[in-house]
Every structure is written in structure tokens, then in C-alpha cells.
């Protein structure tokens, strides 16, 4: 199983970026191989509009089965929901810690968007 985290950094010690649509990149963690890959999202950092939608598309394209981020707006939520990808929210903590929390099942799953668009 693979899950994806929004982040500004490039390692497991990097902090979670609590912004979803305009995060710099995604870290894709593979539970089987215990390795990660980085996926650029800077193209959406500068988007004039629709950053959340295209970041959600980016997440879908990674093949991840879950997303961990800080907040999620209505359009991104709709796209991820249609793709069947659950969204978990957390504070800006090191990704290594959040992988543990995910495995222990202590992360909160969003049932609906928790911020307005353009948050």
C-alpha cells in the first residue's frame, strides 16, 4: 500500500505541509518496500486557479490509496472522493511520525472539506 503526504521538504524528517493545493511536493510512501519517492507539485503552487483540483489529480496519478495533509477545500475533496482516496489530516509534524500514526490508525479522516476554497 502507498500513501501520499503534502510537504515542503524532501525526506522523512521533513514536516507535513498543512496546505494541500499549494504544497511544493508530495512524498509517496510505500509500506511494502519501506521506500519513498517525491512528486513535484510546484506547477500548482503558481496556478492562477484550480490548484486544489490539479493537486488532487496529481495525487490520483501517483496511485496512492490515501492522502495525509493539513486541510482540504471543497473542490479537491470532491475530486479525491470521486477517486475513492480517503483524506487524513494532521498537524505539521515530521512525516516519519505521521507514518507511524497512520499505521496505528490515530489520524483523523475527513468526512467533508474542512476549509473554504482559496483558504
Amino acid at each position: 500500500m502507498k500513501i501520499v503526504f503534502s510537504t515542503e521538504g524532501e525526506s522523512l524528517e521533513s514536516l507535513l505541509d498543512t496546505r494541500f493545493g499549494r504544497c511544493s511536493r508530495f512524498l509517496l510512501w510505500d509500506f511494502e518496500t519501506k521506500t519513498f519517492t517525491l512528486i513535484e507539485n510546484s506547477q500548482n503552487l503558481q496556478a492562477i486557479q484550480g490548484a486544489g483540483i490539479q493537486s488532487a489529480q496529481n495525487v490520483i496519478n501517483t496511485g496512492a490509496e490515501a492522502l495525509v495533509t493539513g486541510h482540504c477545500g471543497p473542490k479537491a475533496f470532491k475530486v479525491l472522493q470521486a477517486a475513492g482516496i480517503p483524506i487524513y489530516v494532521a498537524e505539521s509534524l515530521p512525516i516519519r511520525e505521521l507514518i507511524d500514526s497512520f499505521e496505528k490508525g490515530t489520524l483523523l479522516q475527513l468526512k467533508e472539506a474542512d476549509v473554504e476554497g482559496h483558504w
Partner: protein
């Protein structure tokens, strides 16, 4: 010729000036209310509505039977309005700018465009015989520039030498849509720090667009003020200063216009249009 009445700051007197200009030049001008998010020229003009016309934009729809989920439309959309999730194409209409790119790029002919009404034009004849054309954006839609452009393209009731355009405030895309292609722009402002700040933004935009303009200062308390200082320093022309006068405000609040209070301005307002001609 097209003359836009614009301002950076809202509430400086664009509509007051536009309506007064129409009254003073009734036999040779028409007025387009292009402040489509809140058109209000009609409140100050006795008029009869002659006709309405819908303003429509084309919005794409996907035929799921033809769509192969190839994602070409997602890549093509410069407005980030399309995503593929699960086994469906999701289009966010509110982000769509009706460019038609997705429909053209689709290799399977799965995207068709359908018209959606986003606003309305209403054409009126005023009691003074001049034409008033009002553009109104429908509530819930964001494409104000499309309604502004439609208003500017509408055929006139009769050919007159001057088309006056009451522009939306600010310097965003609505302002650009209203003033572009104009032959001349009147920038209305007030002698306050806020008025000066937003005047500078509007001037910067017009210089970029290479549009000729003159400044009109409204509600002045002194012949020399921070707008005249700025204009003199920069070498920009001020063509009219209108004094602060409670009587003007009271008349405006009752639906009257500047000329009701200051009929002597009629000559000046006629000369203003003459001066715009190269």
C-alpha cells in the same frame, strides 16, 4: 468614438459623471453601463426598456459513452477546471473560461459545448432620446468580462458619434475589458489618499495599454489638492474639478444628476467630449 469613464477607487463618481455626460450630450451620445456586477445608471435616467438579450457562454459537457479517460482535456485546460477521478471526467464550470480547448483537443469527440446564460443586456431609450444599454451579470456567475464585451459589441439603437462606457471600479480584468479599445478614458477620482493610491494603479494600467486619458477630480475642497499635486508632477492632464457640495449629493440620492444642481456645467461637459477627439 468610445470614451470610458473609469476609476481605480469605487464611489468616486463614475456613474454621476457618465449620466451627466449623457444628459449634456443627449443628441450625440449613448451610454453603456458596463459595471455589470452592479449596474446603476438606469436609476438616474428616465427610460423605456426596448429589448433584452441573453449573454451566453459555452460550457463543455462530456459524453461518458465516447470518453476513453485519456486525460488530454485535463492537460489542455489552462484554467485547471478539469480532473479525471475514478472513471469520470469532472468539469468545474465555475472555473471554465469557455476557451473551447478541451472540446477541440479531445481525440474521441467526447466533449461538446453547450450555451449557459451568464448575463443579460437590456437596451433602453431615455426620455432625452439617448440610448442606455445595461449589462447585468447573473448572480452566481464570475465571468463579468464576457458580459462587458457583449455590451460593447451590441448594435446601437442609432449611430451617434460618442459611445460612453461606465466602467467597473478597480483595475482588475473587468476594468481592462471595459476600457480596452476605447479612444479615450476619463479617470474619476477624489482628493483623498485612497483616491490617489487607486488613481495611480489605474494610470499605470492605462499607460501599459497605451490609452490616452484625462483626470477628473470629484468632491474637491480646494483647487489645489493631492491629486493636482500628483498630476502636475507627472504631467497628466486634469480636465475638470467638481466641488464638494451637499446639494449635489442630496440630488443624487433622489435620482437626480449633476446638471440639475449645476446647469452651467452643461457647456463644460460638452467640451469634454470634443476635447477627446484627436
Amino acid at each position: 468614438m468610445k470614451i470610458a469613464i473609469a476609476s481605480g477607487k469605487g464611489g468616486t463618481g463614475k456613474t454621476s459623471l457618465a449620466v451627466a455626460l449623457l444628459h449634456a450630450n443627449a443628441e450625440r451620445a449613448r451610454l453603456l453601463d458596463c459595471d455589470v456586477e452592479e449596474p446603476n445608471c438606469h436609476l438616474f435616467l428616465s427610460h423605456t426598456v426596448i429589448g433584452h438579450k441573453a449573454v451566453e457562454l459555452l460550457i463543455p459537457q462530456v459524453n461518458p459513452n465516447l470518453c476513453k479517460l485519456c486525460g488530454k482535456c485535463v492537460e489542455a485546460c489552462q484554467f485547471n477546471a478539469i480532473a479525471i477521478a475514478g472513471n469520470q471526467v469532472m468539469i468545474f464550470n465555475e472555473l471554465c473560461h469557455s476557451c473551447g480547448g478541451c472540446a477541440r483537443i479531445c481525440p474521441h469527440g467526447a466533449i461538446q459545448e453547450f450555451p449557459v446564460k451568464i448575463g443579460e443586456l437590456s437596451q433602453s431609450r431615455c426620455k432625452n432620446e439617448a440610448e442606455l444599454l445595461t449589462g447585468t451579470l447573473e448572480i452566481g456567475h464570475a465571468s463579468a468580462p464576457a458580459v462587458i464585451k457583449a455590451a460593447k459589441k451590441a448594435l446601437p439603437l442609432q449611430d451617434v458619434p460618442f459611445t460612453l462606457i461606465d466602467s467597473p471600479p478597480g483595475t482588475a480584468c473587468t476594468f481592462v475589458a471595459a476600457v480596452e479599445d476605447s479612444d479615450f478614458v476619463f479617470l474619476v477620482t477624489e482628493a483623498t489618499p485612497f483616491g490617489l493610491n487607486d488613481l495611480k494603479l489605474a494610470v499605470e494600467a492605462l499607460l501599459n495599454m497605451e490609452l490616452p486619458f484625462a483626470i477628473i477630480v470629484n468632491r474637491i475642497q480646494s483647487e489645489t489638492n493631492l491629486i493636482t499635486d500628483y498630476a502636475n508632477q507627472q504631467g497628466f492632464p486634469i480636465w475638470l474639478q467638481i466641488p464638494e457640495d451637499r446639494h449635489i449629493a442630496e440630488t443624487y440620492a433622489r435620482g437626480g444628476n449633476l446638471l440639475d444642481v449645476k446647469p452651467e456645467l452643461k457647456k463644460v461637459l460638452r467640451e469634454l467630449l470634443d476635447r477627446c477627439q484627436p
